[in-house]
Symmetry: C2
Subunit: 90 residues, 2 copies
């Protein structure tokens, strides 16, 4: 899982948890709606400045977003590692 | 502290800890030396793909880099917050 996929997932997850629409976060953060949507889907890298603005509009810190993204990346790595059972069947 | 400053600091710190030169990490990761240098100094955003490549050449995970960057950002926020002493003198 690439960083931008993890960060996008966290941003969308947090926005949904707060019952906010893309339009609302876009307006609050002054980040273009289309761009924000692409960032959430992991299709665009987000610049450090825009990440600050989006985080601010969600009232969470960039460090919290980065930690959650890191957790997601580690979880995916753990899930994709072959299990003992899989290895035993080889 | 912006994300790119924190990530750049972590990358330089890790490279120094491993006694590697910019040239060595650049060669190992196939990331241009000038670009890598700018990333380390927080002057350029690093794409998710290049971050994977640099992390791989340092043998650490991107999630570890993101967590360390998050720690740095939080530490700076804590240090820049006015202390009780400062507030008392106001």
């Amino acid at each position: 899982m690439l960083q931008r996929h993890a960060v996008g997932y966290v941003l969308r997850d947090e926005r949904s948890a707060q019952s906010l629409t893309l339009r609302e976060v876009s307006a609050k953060s002054a980040v273009a709606l289309g761009y924000l949507s692409e960032v959430e889907r992991g299709q665009k890298e987000v610049s450090s400045e825009l990440l600050e603005m989006v985080a601010g509009s969600l009232r969470i810190s960039v460090s919290t977003i980065l930690r959650r993204a890191a957790d997601l990346m580690d979880m995916e790595t753990a899930l994709s590692a072959p299990s003992v059972d899989t290895l035993a069947r080889m």
